[in-house]
Symmetry: C2
Subunit: 339 residues, 2 copies
DNA sequence: TTCGATCATGAAAGCGCTTTCAAGCAGAGG
DNA sequence: CCTCTGCTTGAAAGCGCTTTCATGATCGAA
């Protein structure tokens, strides 16, 4: 039994291949009776279209690509899940790659996606290797940047939120409740504009209040629970330890929380801690984590809509700024009275 | 500026299209000097192969498909992350779909993947609609089943673990430390052989010890934190509440843990709780969750290897049984003395 | 009834690549 | 010096589908 082609269906239905193709793709260009017969025949024969041939002839694949830093962080998985689901509703399929925060690997992966003929690409953040923008431009493929609202080249839509404003608000809150010694465990900044913006937000919040931010209150660490754990110990071993620590993401915060428990430091009574992402488990940690809610699913959904629209040249792709509210929970409180 | 084809490269390099193709795909069939020149020319021109044309002519796409129940559960995201990374190392690309635990949607999504010409498919579990197996057979596409070791049609390799043995061991342990009233919050069983096997494991463990398992000690709930929360309250409001509760996955367990805290029930002193999956956060919950470790990343990696091998007809795809060890942590302890 | 306009359909030309197949060519052996 | 072998290369035939383009068929209006 060999493969069933559009020709076999055409013969069996007593029409031409062109009519079969039209029945399947442009249903209203063919008489209803004929169409029904063709579709029934195709079904009976178990016809499965050959996507490669279709893509070659029609110059579009119905596939969309996405490159995320990592799928191991549930925040990206959530975004991808929403993206995939929405693409599915549009009859599109999702090709996925992960860069491991490595710009070179990202460029290489993008090449792979482009060679597979994706009709659009979702990227995280606006900070990418020059090769990435070149490839995208010369392949003339629609692209959308997520997770940020700034920094993308002109003409590239952004669907994201304001990272800097988010941490600025976090700092304002901490200052309001009395903190003055605020430290930060930031994520790695190279190639990561989100991490950089989050640091800038803290600096800005402090500057507005006229508060000095000593160098040693800011460190850059990989996004891991282990790093959060180790770094909290470093901070709390200082002669003048901070009274609040802002973590670059929830993983770091969970690590810090665990380390505090291990050191016998009570959170939030003795130390305030914040995260960033609002993972499912942030609300279920003990104590529940104060963090910034990242609208991952919304970004995925809207990115899908944006790319599908761009692929059919329908809508002028517009940028969208989403809310990233601070979720006040149980890891923040006024600092202990000065002894 | 129009698209650069293999022909343009051929002209620029002063060779035929066939030689360009060979330089790129079968490097040792062409003289080194020529090959180097061709590759340099391709690079200079910014040549990007057209995957559709390549797939059409060579009858393979270099893409592998995967269908998981959901990407919102990090356990599947971890598996997909590993799968993707390994495929990337093989120069393959990953097409992903999620069924939302709906067999009909799974069949539809599979069709989409097959139409895109995937060279292999990874499935979770062995329980699928008949249409799924039909499609796979008639498309002659290699497939691998993960997350279980049993129940797949003959000839279909499984890369998974023994769900039933895992919960059986969990029960043995609970019995050993003195529990007799053991309840279970299972996942939805329709179309989910893993959930079913986990229930069977509990039943088997209890039966071996000659202990009765009353109907009301077993309920089926969606895999969510909220369901875990609500169900724990139900269980603990019974006249004779269980002393240990086995949850079908970690989400349910986290919910149960939170509800116990809310009710003022001390875990593990008054109640033992177990999960299944061993998510990253299981070890960081308070108290740290006793659970079954699911080798998600290993399954993803090995599934990738298996499918790549099958696509090149290299190795006879073999089934693999991986370990799923019980991770004893802080949510299990002997039951309180009988009052 | 007749004419032009509209609609449904078929024929055929590719889409850009891989892959036989055959030819060219250089070196080895007689 | 000639033939045979083995290695490179080019020519060309598709891969299965979409999509003009052209041709009948159909319909409403005159």
């Amino acid at each position: 039994m060999k493969k069933i082609t559009i020709h076999d269906v055409a013969c069996a239905a007593g029409v031409s291949a062109a009519t079969v193709s039209r029945s399947l793709n442009l249903p209203d260009q063919v008489k209803p009776a004929v169409r029904a017969h063709v579709i029934a025949t195709a079904e009976r024969l178990g016809y499965l279209a050959d996507g490669a041939a279709r893509a070659l002839a029609s110059r579009r694949s119905g596939a969309v690509g996405a490159i995320v830093p990592t799928l191991d962080n549930p925040i990206f998985a959530t975004c991808i899940a929403a993206l995939q689901q929405r693409l599915d509703e549009h009859g599109r399929v999702l090709l996925i790659a992960s860069s491991g925060y490595d710009p070179a690997r990202e460029a290489r992966d993008l090449r792979g996606l482009l060679e597979r003929g994706v009709d659009g690409v979702m990227l995280v953040g606006a900070d990418h290797a020059a090769a990435v923008w070149h490839l995208l431009a010369s392949a003339r493929v629609p692209v959308v940047v997520t997770w940020t609202t700034t920094g993308a080249p002109p003409g590239v839509p952004c669907i994201g939120f304001d990272n800097q404003a988010a941490t600025r608000r976090l700092v304002s809150y901490l200052l309001d409740i009395g903190h003055r010694r605020i430290a930060m465990i930031a994520g790695p900044s190279p190639g990561n504009d989100r991490a950089t913006a989050r640091v800038a937000g803290v600096r800005e919040g402090l500057a507005r209040a006229g508060i000095d931010w000593p160098e040693e209150y800011r460190v850059e660490r990989p996004y891991s629970v282990a790093a959060g754990r180790a770094t909290l110990i470093e901070f709390m071993s200082m002669p003048r330890p901070p009274t609040a620590i802002i973590c670059g993401n929830d993983h770091l915060a969970f690590g810090a929380l665990a380390a505090a428990a291990g050191m016998g430091i009570r959170v939030p009574a003795e130390l305030s801690l914040t995260g960033f992402d609002d993972l499912d488990f942030a609300a279920h940690a003990t104590p529940a984590l104060t963090t910034v809610h990242v609208p991952a699913a919304a970004m995925g959904r809207q990115a899908a809509d944006c790319l599908v629209a761009a692929a059919s040249a329908r809508a002028g792709p517009a940028s969208v700024e989403l809310e990233a509210p601070v979720m006040l929970r149980d890891t923040t409180a006024p600092p202990p009275p000065i002894r």
